[in-house]
């Protein structure tokens, strides 16, 4: 089925575009809108947005794939995004990633069978001071250890941890 931008989205988009001197400058905020609504940015959505902003499709795809914050497929209820850049790497991120892989029995890019967790390795989250860091949906969890991770996963599983999203 061809993807169509909803009227609601278009109204919002017009509003967002008006804030910028050029329409194409609204690309990032509009992608965030799309992801906010669907949880990810589908291939067809990129196409529709490219047409809407009169941008080449390749440009939109290039931007979506550049930022690890954009999901290109539906994720589980909790999207675990472990930073893999230098500060976190040195502070033990590879160990945390391995721990999560073993515990959830999935690798990066996969979702657990119960649809709860998706695991990703992402680029710098800008919180080097409290490395290692993991972002869950839109919340940060800092100075992590394996024990803290275990406790966090338990809480999330039982819905005990209120998240922004």
């Amino acid at each position: 089925m061809p993807f169509k931008l909803s009227e609601e989205f278009k109204t919002k988009a017009a509003h967002i575009c008006a804030k910028y001197p050029r329409k194409d400058a609204a690309l990032l905020p509009l992608l965030q809108e799309l992801q906010g609504a669907a949880g990810y940015v589908a291939e067809e959505a990129m196409d529709a947005l490219a047409q809407y902003l009169e941008l080449p499709y390749a440009r939109v795809k290039g931007v979506v794939t550049f930022y690890t914050m954009f999901n290109r497929a539906p994720t589980g209820k909790y999207h675990l995004q472990v930073c893999r850049n230098i500060s976190c790497h040195m502070a033990g991120a590879p160990g945390l990633l391995a721990h999560l892989r073993a515990k959830l029995d999935i690798t990066e890019g996969e979702t657990t069978g119960d649809g709860l967790f998706t695991l990703s390795a992402v680029e710098c989250l800008g919180a080097c001071g409290s490395a290692p860091v993991m972002q869950v949906n839109e919340d940060y969890f800092e100075n992590l250890t394996a024990e803290k991770l275990d406790a966090l996963l338990e809480d999330l599983k039982h819905g005990k941890h209120p998240l922004k999203r």
Binding site: P56, R59, K61, T65, F66, E123
Partner: protein, 490 residues
């Protein structure tokens, strides 16, 4: 106009010129991947770094504007080390598949490695990041992402020159690769330029791949005859076979070359290339063919005519004019081809598909002749019964010929060119095999130079005309192409 010193030499350059351009003017070559004189500056490859006195670190020459009093060095240890380091980075994930890579011999990585690096890689083969190997993208190109250095020349070419924006860098960091929309073909009429500007073996030409190692190629500068733009080109050939055509950048017409023009060489070696005459549909040796044509002309002497062609050189058209005036002794000849001219796509392709409309006009200016309308009228009302012309030019009078049942005698290089219903066809050497002058839409005279030899027995058109005249009893005394030009303002 800033004045600066590069490697001890002083130069004054135009305001806005970059260090790389200033160095170029001095004859100092600075290595580069992403810089291209006709594309926007990207500054991403870092290969062009140079030392500027008082600057805290090296700067990229391609993106640094020349300023008054700058003292630049391109040959210090510091600069050489930087080049070596950049190369080491670029080669971390490179597959090093030169033995099977078609770019070998004209590869930016190979060339600079030999010049600046020659260092053993400190990165083990097993840990290389793998990317997509060769795959066809569009009718003309192969893309091998593992060899790409991400200079984005291809991306900028598509967005700035053809404005089709097919390509983009996808993902980031060491996952990055060049790609386009799934299912979309990279086919914008100029795609083969990407194979030229890609500094490595990532984009290669599907047509040229594995035909020839580039160091065997001989290069002949010539002109493209694909349309009235008349781009300057270079034909690459070896052992009497043409392998590819590339542009010869010049300020007047072209930096690039269209895909259509690049493929023009295929007709030279095509299976339907004519080496003999054709009478009706049967092949016949050249001499009997000429005799047959001459007798058809003789029996209709009063109603024989000559139509020049905007696809033929000035010299060959002049020879046809001599045939009309001195052998047929007729006023029924025409070198009048009017065509809308001008670049039609904003890049190179001309509205006029013929390469020499303006050259034919020179013949008309010197020798006169009928207008095309009058010529067609005389064919239609039967005053002209036999027409000697070139195969593609016959299309101009197609309807009249058909309506009146006139006899067409055409010169053609390939069987596919022969118009339906032609009575006789005589072969001639094309302009990859024989020289000729062409006048482009701007009035520039350009020489086509022979790159390969014609097949045995196949002669230039002027020589065929000379022979034909002898068969019908006159000598035109054409010993070379230029002989026909006497009396033509040229």
């Amino acid at each position: 106009m800033p004045k600066l010193t590069i490697d001890g030499k002083t130069i004054e350059v135009a305001k806005g010129a970059t260090l790389l351009e200033a160095a170029q003017q001095l004859g100092v070559y600075i290595p580069r991947y992403c810089y291209h004189p006709k594309l926007s500056v990207s500054g991403n490859c870092r290969m062009c770094m140079v030392e500027v006195k008082k600057a805290p670190k090296l700067v990229t020459a391609c993106s640094t504007e020349a300023a008054e009093g700058m003292i630049v060095r391109t040959d210090t240890e510091n600069v050489k080390n930087a080049r070596r380091d950049v190369l080491e980075f670029l080669l971390i994930n490179h597959p090093l598949d030169c033995p099977i890579c078609d770019q070998a011999g004209e590869c930016g990585l190979q060339d600079y490695y030999m010049e600046y690096s020659r260092a053993k890689s400190r990165f083990p083969q097993e840990e290389k990041v793998r990317r997509g190997k060769r795959r066809a993208v569009g009718p003309h190109l192969m893309l091998d992402n593992e060899r790409c250095v991400l200079c984005t020349r291809c991306v900028r070419f598509c967005s700035e020159v053809t404005k089709t924006s097919e390509l983009e860098v996808m993902e980031r960091a060491d996952h990055s690769y060049i790609d386009l929309k799934e299912g979309r073909a990279l086919d914008n009429g100029y795609s083969l330029n990407i194979a030229d500007i890609c500094p490595v073996g990532a984009f290669t030409s599907r047509d040229f791949r594995f035909k020839q190692r580039v160091w065997f190629l001989k290069k002949t500068p010539t002109v493209c005859l694909g349309c009235a733009t008349g781009c300057l080109t270079e034909v690459h050939h070896n052992e009497n076979t043409v392998h590819r055509i590339v542009p010869r950048p010049n300020a007047e017409t072209n930096t690039w070359l269209c895909d259509h023009g690049r493929m023009a060489y295929r007709a030279v070696q095509a299976g339907d290339r004519l080496a003999k005459g054709v009478i009706k549909n049967g092949l016949i040796d050249l001499e009997p063919a000429l005799r047959e044509v001459a007798s058809r002309i003789d029996e209709n002497h009063a109603s024989a005519a000559v139509l020049g062609s905007p696809w033929l050189s000035v010299e060959d058209n002049a020879a046809l004019a001599r045939l009309a005036a001195d052998a047929l002794k007729t006023e029924n000849f025409c070198f009048d081809f009017k065509a809308e001219q001008g670049i039609k796509d904003g890049i190179l392709i001309n509205q006029d598909p013929a390469p020499n409309t303006a050259g034919a006009a020179l013949i008309r200016a010197g020798r006169g002749g009928l207008t095309l309308e009058e010529f067609a009228r005389r064919v239609a009302d039967g005053r002209i019964k036999v027409i000697v012309t070139e195969a593609r030019a016959a299309a101009f009078i197609k309807d009249a010929v058909k309506a009146a049942g006139a006899r067409l005698i055409v010169f053609a290089t390939n069987k596919a060119e022969i118009p339906a219903g032609a009575y006789a066809t005589l072969p001639y050497a094309c302009y990859f095999e024989t020289p000729g002058t062409f006048v482009n839409y701007q009035g520039l005279k350009r020489r086509a130079a022979p790159a390969v030899e014609a097949r045995e027995g196949v002669k230039p058109l002027w020589a065929m005309v000379n022979k034909l005249a002898v068969y019908s009893g006159t000598s035109l005394r054409l010993d070379c192409a230029e002989d026909a030009l006497k009396g033509i303002e040229f």
